[in-house]
């Protein structure tokens, strides 16, 4: 990468670190460190929520998915606006008025200590490891592209983030998130403009080419539980998942607890309600336009250069044969796209079919190339995460490439920072202050909180460094996470039903996770979005069946 691009990336890292660290002056007390003295404006909280949710995986993985598979992934977010409105009248006022530090603290007040400890333990287990994978995803790509060793790539993202989160607390997280979110939006708009300029046909023809190749298929109205992304799984399963994530996950709850008032907390959520789907559609559109760009500019056989080198070294003759087939297929697809662009819309059925056929041929050769990479010993048999970085580094003008890489860093850092702050608050409030040392001054708890942030940061960096070797373990933990996401939402929903009992919540939670586990193993093809519905409904049903405290006792 050109030194000017590196200067932009390093300049961003230095600026964001200094900006985060200088927020330390507002964190003399625990409430300042974890909740920003409950004084942040709604728009800061709202942008911070969006920044945490948008990770580097979105910037390089989702865009790559757009290039390969098109826009259909946007259906995943269809339930989000409704979820945000429901949360605005349910959990947000409940938790904000309870003046708690963590969502789980509220569960002890409402139910009992064991329900609080179990939910917070589940959160620590899953978030602790997922924090590592959030760093690992971009670090793996950057280490391959820039030839950095994995520990250096992890350190580049992890060290500044851990430093400013540890020192500046949630204020550093929220205010840096605002700047990171702005950088991400500027980078997204800039790359779309560059793509529209660089594609050698007009935007209407570009979209016709994308549409003919199936990349603009957004909706799937098929009500099949086994399909991962459909309109129905997005609207129904997505609403439950988003309610669980934004309403009960400490990495999000902590953010709206920093708002001045309940109304400001609600308003912060409405930013996501209005803007998340358009933003996600734009991210996928980048991928779609990159696909069109590579219809006219021959793309590499392997977007991951290390993968290509490995196959070439292992079997040069086979590599040459696949490359030759690839060149022929690409040329045929380009000719078909040019013909489509010059055909009128009324009589383009044959041209569309020719392009579809050409694209299928390219996809078939790429599938063979990926098989060859697996045979040659490459760990990942896909290079979807390398499509956008390859485009950015080879096609974007000087400076803009640096801006986009800085935006990928920003996306990773904003997510990691939010998670570190929430892991630290849960560790200190729900475990240390609850079970180890109940009474101490703020200075002591502040010191422990900073140590906890640092310790979780080191843990996340270690997990990220060894992520490739821990692959199956991380997958197990992620799968485990999907078992309890809906169930935890069920516990919070149960909390809002008057006079439900602690034992109902605790055993309901265990029942919810068990049923989701049984569905997962008994019918593994059921899409994971439906697990959230199953978990939440089971917990509420079991919790209500356990009975309710008699009205006179509750009073």
């Amino acid at each position: 990468m050109h030194w000017i691009n590196w200067a932009i990336v390093l300049g961003y890292l230095a600026y964001i670190s200094i900006d985060g660290i200088r927020r330390a002056k507002g964190t003399k007390k625990l409430e300042g460190y974890f909740l920003g003295n409950r004084s942040l404006p709604w728009w800061v909280v709202g942008l911070s929520v969006m920044a945490t949710q948008l990770s580097a995986i979105t910037m390089i993985g989702t865009t790559g998915q757009g290039a390969n598979d098109g826009m259909r992934f946007v259906q995943f977010y269809f339930g989000l606006p409704v979820a945000m409105v429901i949360l605005g009248v349910t959990l947000v006022p409940f938790l904000h008025r309870a003046k708690v530090y963590t969502a789980y603290e509220f569960l002890e007040r409402r139910f009992d200590a064991r329900t609080r400890s179990l939910t917070s333990l589940l959160f620590l287990l899953s978030r602790g490891l997922s924090c590592g994978t959030i760093i690992a995803a971009p670090a793996v790509v950057f280490s391959s592209i820039f030839g950095l060793s994995m520990p250096y790539a992890v350190a580049l993202i992890g060290v500044p983030t851990v430093l400013y989160t540890m020192i500046g607390g949630i204020q550093a997280v929220a205010w840096t998130d605002v700047k990171q979110m702005l950088l991400i939006i500027i980078a997204i708009v800039a790359i779309i403009v560059v793509l529209l300029v660089r594609i050698p046909v007009d935007p209407d023809s570009a979209l016709r080419i994308a549409g003919a190749a199936g990349r603009l298929q957004v909706f799937d109205f098929d009500f099949t539980l086994t399909k991962q992304y459909t309109f129905w799984s997005g609207i129904i399963g997505g609403t439950f998942l988003m309610m669980s994530y934004f309403g009960t996950d400490q990495s999000q709850v902590q953010r709206y607890l920093t708002a001045k008032t309940v109304d400001e907390a609600r308003s912060s959520h409405l930013i996501s309600a209005y803007w998340k789907i358009p933003l996600q559609a734009l991210v996928l559109l980048i991928g779609v336009l990159v696909f069109v760009f590579y219809v006219f500019t021959p793309p590499p056989l392997y977007y991951n250069p290390a993968q290509g080198e490995r196959v070439r070294a292992a079997d040069p003759a086979a590599y040459a044969a696949v490359s030759e087939r690839y060149d022929v297929a690409l040329a045929r697809r380009t000719d078909a796209a040019r013909a489509l662009a010059h055909t009128s819309r009324d009589a383009d059925a044959a041209a569309r079919e020719a392009l579809r056929e050409g694209d299928r041929e390219v996809a078939a050769v790429r599938a063979d190339a990926m098989k060859a990479a697996t045979v040659a010993g490459a760990k990942a048999a896909t290079d979807v995460n390398y499509i956008i970085p390859h485009f950015v580094l080879t096609q974007l003008p000087l400076g803009l490439a640096g801006l986009f890489i800085a935006a990928v860093f920003a996306a990773a850092m904003s997510s990691v920072a939010g998670e570190l702050a929430s892991l630290s608050s849960t560790t200190v409030i729900d475990f240390y202050r609850r079970w180890v040392r109940k009474e101490a001054d703020d200075a002591h708890f502040l010191m422990v909180s900073r140590a906890a942030t640092g310790a979780w940061g080191v843990f996340a960096c270690v997990v990220a460094t060894f992520a490739a070797d821990l692959g199956s373990l991380i997958e197990v933990v992620n799968r485990f996470g999907s078992f309890f996401y809906g169930s935890i939402l069920g516990v919070f929903l149960l909390a809002m039903i008057p006079r439900t009992r602690g034992s109902g919540a605790f055993y309901g939670l265990i029942a919810g996770m068990t049923v989701v586990g049984a569905v997962n193993y008994g019918a593994p093809s059921v899409a994971f979005l439906w697990h959230n519905v199953v978990g939440a409904v089971t917990v509420v049903t079991v919790g209500v069946l356990f009975g309710r405290t008699p009205r006179e006792v509750a009073a």
């Binding site: 269809f78 606006p81 409105v85 605005g88 994308a210 603009l216 957004v218 409405l270 309600a273 789907i277």
Partner: protein, 32 residues
């Protein structure tokens, strides 16, 4: 359902319908 909540819900749903409508139009025009 309280009035402010109903108003917020309607606004958010209207905005979502608008976005879904635009996506549907994009699909209808280009994906065929």
């Amino acid at each position: 359902m309280s009035t402010p909540f109903r108003r917020v819900l309607l606004r958010v749903l209207a905005a979502e319908l608008l976005v879904l409508g635009l996506l549907l139009a994009l699909e209808y025009r280009y994906a065929g």
